[in-house]
Structures are given as C-alpha cells and as structure tokens.
C-alpha cells in the first residue's frame, strides 16, 4: 500500500523532472509544476501513511522477520539456520499454521552490517503483519537491535546470539533469548574437562579474534582457575576471522605442548584449522576441545576423543531427541531435503520457532481466542516454559533462556559414517548460570572446586536415563 503511494509520487516527480529538463525548459510554469508536484507527492505519501491499520483481526498470514547470515563466510553457520527455518515453517503450515493462520518468513541477511540490518528491521516492524522478529545470529546484531526492539515494542527472539551482555541489565520487555548465553556454554566445557582429565596442568586457547572468541576465553579461563587454581594458560591465540592459514598458530600450539587446546573457532575457520592441525599431530599430543565441533562432524573426519558440544542441548542424536518422534521426523526431513543431518544452529532455529509458536498459543488462550497483539505475545513469552525438539527452555525473569548443556567426546559408531558424540553429560540449565542481575565473571570467580562435585559426570547421559 505505502509502496504504491511512494512509487506513484516518485513517478510524478520524475516525470516533472523530464518536463523541466527536456520539454518545458524555460517556461515559467515548469517551475511551478515541479513545486506543486513535489508537494502533491509528499501529501499523497502522507495520506497513504496515515491510513489506519485494521486492529487485531485474524491476519491472512503470520509474518516473521528472520535474521541470519545468508551470504559471506558466516553463512556457513547462518544457512543451516535458514534451512531449518524453512523446514520448520513448512511443518507448522502443514499442520494448519499458528491458530489456523499460515506462517510466512522474510529473511534478512546479517552480512550487510548493522546499518542495513537496522534499516530492514525498521521496515519489517513498520508492517503490522510482522509481529515477531527472530533476530539474530550474531551477538553484535542482537546488541544493535535490542534497544530498537524495546523502543518499537516488537517481540524479538534471539535464536543464536549468546553474548552475556545482551540481557544483563534485566530490564528487557521485548527481547528474549530462549537459547542461553556464553556463561553456561563455556563453563560446561571447563567442568567436563576437569571431570575427564583431573590432572590437567597446562591449557592453550585458540579462538577467533572478535568478541565471541575473547568472551569465551575469559569465561573458560575464569572457570578453570576457579575450579582448579593451579592451571596455567600457556598460550592465547586469536587468529583473525576468515583466516585461510593456521600453520603459525599450530606451530605455536605444538611447541607449547599444552595438555589441553581449547577452541571456539567455527564454520570454515574450524574446518580449516582441523584439516591443518590433524596431520601435524595436534590431536594426538593434546586433548582438544572444540566448543562448536558438532557443526563439522559430518564434514571433517575428527579423530576419537575430541571434546565437542552444541552450546546448549541442540544435539539431534541426544537421548532426549531420539525419544521425541517430532525430532526424529525433523532430522530425517532435514537430511532428505538438504543432504545433511541438522547441526546445532539448525536445532537452535527450529527450537526458537517452536518457542514463538508456543507464545502465540499461550497469548490466544489468555485473551480468549482473539488474535494477539505484539505486547500480548511478549507477555506470553515472559516466564514461559516450552518443550522443544531437544529438551525444554525456561524463560527467566531477565528473559534469558535456561537450556541444558550437552558436552561429550567424539566416538565412532557403526550406525553413522561420521563420528558422533559419546560419553555425554547433560548439565541442567540453571546449575551453570548466575542469578539474574549478578555479574557473570564475578560469579564464576567465586566458584569453588566443590561446585563441580554435585554435577552429573561424563557418561551419565545415556539412552533410557534422564
């Protein structure tokens, strides 16, 4: 509607330019026409804009703005998310959509940078049809969008971004993150490591050189130091994002001879690193932890015994996932459509869409079956507890999600041609997270070695035991 108005006005203005320059040059009325045209155009657009939007009838479709990387290097991580969203939305629509209304998604490419993403967010938010935004993959995008979400009062659900800064002030009304944050994600690795290798002395870290890499290193180091004070960090390397060559870093790592190498490299960077480090014996000389290792299991032959995880509970082959027919169906459909089984970014996206759908259902239940407004949807997300494909997500008072953390090691099985995760542990979401409002790093430093004693042990998470 608005677009039509704008384009008509533009056309009018352009046509008057033509008059001005080609045909009517020199004639006085040309000037007048131009001014009148400009004013008329502005007025026309104004009229279009102020046409009231019909309130809270059932719309013809539920619009979702979904923000992910669909171009550039980060698409290695973003496209599994988009694929999962496509599949999940098809599944939701096949069952009649949300409250009988089909779901349509508009994808926004985060690779265009904060400015473009904000412009797109505002454009989508301006259309009343788009009631919820699923944003975003990158923490920088989430941080940039959060204040706008609060100001425009649009429920915005972070599907992957995990910086602990996002919801730290605890004042968010419209920003939700049903997938947890960096604090539990990386403490889980410290605890698992110390359970599996209690005598570890030296640790080296190789993380990508941006906030995610530095945050993870800080959290992981703080947790290790708190739980085992005599641990020494012998190297901290931050290769730049998208680096094609890791030989220098690998040389540093092999000469430092650490007991443990920790890394949260991801995407093509992680594949590159693994391919270059394997022939140089890094995986035999040190215990390697790849925090996002699950994403490359199907692509790169990882040796046995590498500690990997899924930054949450989104492992499609976990005992809980296997016990859920929906998840099994989703994984098989994903495999047949995209040629690969889902990786954890796919599961995070699918779970987030389930979370959004649940919010619609709760909101409609609360207001007696009427179509919910944006504020009602945000209200329904507040404190909600939703069963996902791989577990449950509990929304805390600060809108951060409590999800369990699954960590394990790579093992070969006869069931799959690629390594899978074995010797798993599933830490309860709330056990690894500071209270809302507490400074996370101060909380980690206050942990005592006894803290880990009460937690489940590696190998405790098996089929049939929950």
């Amino acid at each position: 509607m608005a677009f039509n108005g704008i384009s008509t006005a533009f056309a009018r203005c352009l046509s008057s330019l033509q008059l001005l320059f080609r045909l009517d040059r020199g004639l006085p009325q040309a000037n007048l026409r131009l001014v009148v045209d400009g004013l008329a155009g502005a007025l026309a657009i104004g009229l279009v804009a102020t046409t009231p939007v019909a309130a809270q009838d059932k719309p013809s479709s539920v619009g979702l703005g979904i923000f992910t990387f669909t171009s550039g290097p980060a698409a290695a991580y973003g496209m599994p998310g988009k694929n999962a969203a496509d599949l999940m939305i098809d599944e939701i629509n096949a069952k009649g959509g949300i409250g009988g209304v089909p779901v349509t998604a508009t994808y926004v490419d985060e690779a265009q940078g904060a400015q473009g993403v904000i412009a797109e967010y505002r454009r989508l938010a301006g259309d009343a049809k788009n009631q919820v935004m699923v944003a975003a993959l990158s923490s920088a995008t989430c941080l940039a969008l959060a204040p706008i979400a609060e100001q425009l009062e649009v429920p915005t659900v972070g599907w992957n971004c995990d910086t602990h800064q996002l919801l730290m002030d605890g004042k968010s009304k419209y920003v939700f993150r049903p997938n947890g944050n960096t604090v539990p994600e990386f403490i889980a690795y410290a605890i698992y490591l110390l359970d599996r290798k209690p005598d570890v002395k030296t640790v080296a870290i190789i993380n990508p050189d941006y906030a995610f890499g530095h945050d993870a290193a800080k959290i992981f180091t703080a947790a290790l130091k708190a739980l085992k004070p005599d641990i020494e960090i012998v190297a901290e390397l931050y290769p730049k994002l998208g680096s094609p060559n890791y030989q220098t870093e690998i040389s540093r790592l092999t000469t430092a001879r650490p007991d443990v190498v920790f890394s949260n490299l991801w995407g093509a960077d992680l594949e590159n690193f693994v391919r270059q480090a394997t022939p140089r014996g890094l995986f035999t000389s040190s215990q390697v932890i790849l925090a996002l290792g699950e994403t490359i299991l199907q692509r790169v032959p990882l040796p046995d015994g590498v500690i990997v995880g899924v930054l949450g509970d989104g492992w499609w082959m976990s005992p809980d996932a296997k016990a859920n027919p929906e998840t099994v169906k989703f994984a098989e459909a994903y495999k047949s459509r995209f040629g690969e089984y889902p990786v954890f970014p796919s599961i995070k996206m699918a779970n987030t869409l389930i979370y959004v759908k649940a919010a619609y259902e709760v909101a409609m239940q609360k207001n007696g079956g009427k179509w919910p407004a944006r504020a009602e949807l945000a209200g329904a997300m507040k404190g909600s507890k939703v069963a996902t494909l791989t577990g449950t997500v509990q929304t805390r008072a600060d809108n951060d999600g409590l999800v369990d953390q699954i960590v394990g090691v790579t093992v070969k099985t006869s069931a799959q041609p690629f390594p899978v995760i074995g010797d798993m542990v599933r830490y309860k979401g709330d056990s690894l997270l500071p209270q809302a409002g507490q400074d996370p790093l101060a909380w980690i430093s206050s942990l005592k070695p006894e803290f880990a004693k009460g937690l489940p042990k590696p190998g405790s998470y098996k089929i049939g035991e929950r």
């Binding site: 704008i6 004013l39 502005a42 904060a114 400015q115 797109e120 454009r123 940039a144 706008i148 425009l152």
Partner: protein, 307 residues
C-alpha cells in the same frame, strides 16, 4: 531553477520520511554518509583519493559514545564535540598525509585508517571490541525524548544541517581556498611559484573533510544507537569514495545524491533477493559506464550554457 530544484528535493525527502517511518532511518543514514562522501569529494577536487575517510566517520561516532559514557548528555554538545574530535584527528593525520600525492596518499590513508580499525577491534576492554559501544539517546536542549520522537528530530536536524553545511561547503569551494584545490590538481608547482602554500591549503581541506566525515559519523552513531569497528573498515572507506564518484564531484549536492541513491538501491535490493550484492554492483557498473560525471553530472550538463 537550481534553488527550486534543491528545495523540492529537500521537501520530497521530508515527505518521504513522514510517509514511511522505516524509510526515515534509511534517509538519515544516507544523509550521514552524504556528509562523509562530501568530505571525500572535497579532497577529490585536488585529485587526492582518500581510502581512509571511514576512520573519521568512526572516530566521531566513537567520540560520541565515549563522551556519552563520560556523562555528556546533550545532542548539540555531543555533535559539536565529536565533530571537533574528528577534525582534530584529521588535522594531526593530515599534517603528514597531505605531503603525499596519488597512490601514496590513498594507501597511507588506508593504512592509518586500518590501524584505527585494528585499535577499535582489539582494545576489547575500552571499545568493547567487535560488539562495539552503545550510543545512548541524548537530551535535546535539556528535553528528553522517546526513541521515535528523537529519531524524527535527528532526521529533520540532519536535513537542516545538510542544507546549511551544503551552503557553507559550497561557499568554501567557491572561495580562493576552494579554487586552489583544483589548481593543485592541474599544476601544483605553478601554485607554489604564485606564492600559495599548497601544504596549508591541503591541510585546511583535509581538516574540513575530516570534520565533514565526523559530522556524518556522529549522525550515523545517533541513528544506529551503536558504534562498531566495522564503521572504520576499509570497505566502508571505499563505499564513501564510491558514493562521491557515483553522485559526481561537480557540486555539493552530488555527494548527497550519490548517498541517497546507493542507500535506497541497497534497501530495495535486499528486500528482493539474497544476491543483493550482485544487484547493487551491477547497477553501479551501469551508472559508472553510462554516467561518467556521476548522477549530478546529468543535472549540471543541462545547466551549462550551450556553445
């Protein structure tokens, strides 16, 4: 004729933003980039291509973020101070950069701006690394506004600034100082023999262009609400040069026309396709192939007296 045309354009912009609120942000950003591209265009007059002006753009946005963190909370004051910050950095960097010409000037600008970028990204504790720093909504003459109202104020303010600054820069380019720039381009040695200090002229131009980029950066910082190191990345600098060349360096409006064209094109392309980069690139090639004078060149040629 020109004045009427310009007035109609400004009115149309004001109307557009009123019509589609989401477009207001795009237009604010376009005007902000227009300021920076104008800075690049000033130097282009002297035949100097700076592939590093995003540094000043980012420096001023970071300046606003730091000043806001230090407790300064007034839009006018923040704008003036952050522009001064970037002008100061411009004067310092310019003092040695304007000794170079051609590719050396371009590359040294690039190098300095990438050092700045690296500092912003690496000084994790100070600048927040790649997550950046928030630029909170400041008060306007002591009045605190909610987000939508503030963004409207910012947009109309930048519209007014565009006209005022445009006029000032127009006067500057028409003054002896401004004409000396084209003289540097055509014959620098002759200029020295005439007793005109080329170094001083270029330093003044460089500082003005840094201040213009800074003004754009400050507006962009307030519009976006967050400043990240990517603001200073060399592709952003290249983007500014592109805008300046695309719009045409024949006159002040060129930079703003180029910026508006590119931002609107980008916004249109991303709504249509994932391959928006391809779309934008092809249009640019078309414009550069068929409009060597830039878009503004179209207007200019019509105005020129026939022989």
């Amino acid at each position: 004729m020109r004045i009427i045309l310009a007035a109609a354009a400004v009115l149309t912009l004001a109307g557009l933003a009123f019509a589609a609120p989401w477009l207001q942000f795009v237009l604010t950003l376009a005007i902000a980039k227009g300021f920076a591209a104008l800075g690049v265009a000033v130097l282009l007059r002297a035949g100097l291509i700076s592939i590093g002006h995003a540094m000043f753009f980012a420096a001023s946005a970071y300046g606003a973020a730091f000043l806001a963190r230090a407790g300064i909370n007034d839009l006018g004051l923040l704008l003036i101070l952050s522009v001064l910050v970037s002008a100061l950095i411009g004067a310092i960097a310019g003092s040695f950069l304007v000794r170079y010409r051609a590719i050396f000037f371009a590359m040294l600008n690039l190098a300095v701006s990438m050092v700045f970028y690296a500092l912003c990204a690496k000084l994790y504790g100070v600048t927040g690394g790649t997550d950046g720093m928030p630029v909170p909504i400041p008060a306007v003459f002591g009045m605190v506004f909610a987000e939508p109202a503030f963004k409207s104020i910012l947009f109309y303010l930048s519209l007014v600034l565009m006209v005022l600054v445009g006029l000032v820069v127009h006067r500057y380019l028409d003054s002896p100082l401004g004409h000396a720039l084209s003289a540097v381009h055509s014959n620098e040695i002759r200029l020295e023999y005439l007793g005109i200090p080329v170094w001083a002229i270029l330093l003044i131009a460089y500082t003005i262009s840094a201040a213009l980029a800074g003004l754009g950066g400050a507006v962009a910082g307030f519009a976006i609400g967050r400043v990240v190191p990517d603001f200073a990345f060399w592709t952003a600098s290249g983007h500014l040069v592109l805008i300046a060349v695309l719009g045409g360096i024949g006159g002040v409006p060129g930079a703003f026309i180029g910026a508006l064209f590119l931002e609107l094109l980008h916004s249109a392309a991303v709504t249509v396709t994932d391959a928006w980069n391809l779309f934008v690139g092809m249009t640019l090639i078309a414009v550069i192939m068929f409009m060597p004078q830039g878009i503004y060149g179209l207007f200019e040629r019509k105005e020129a007296p026939s022989p």
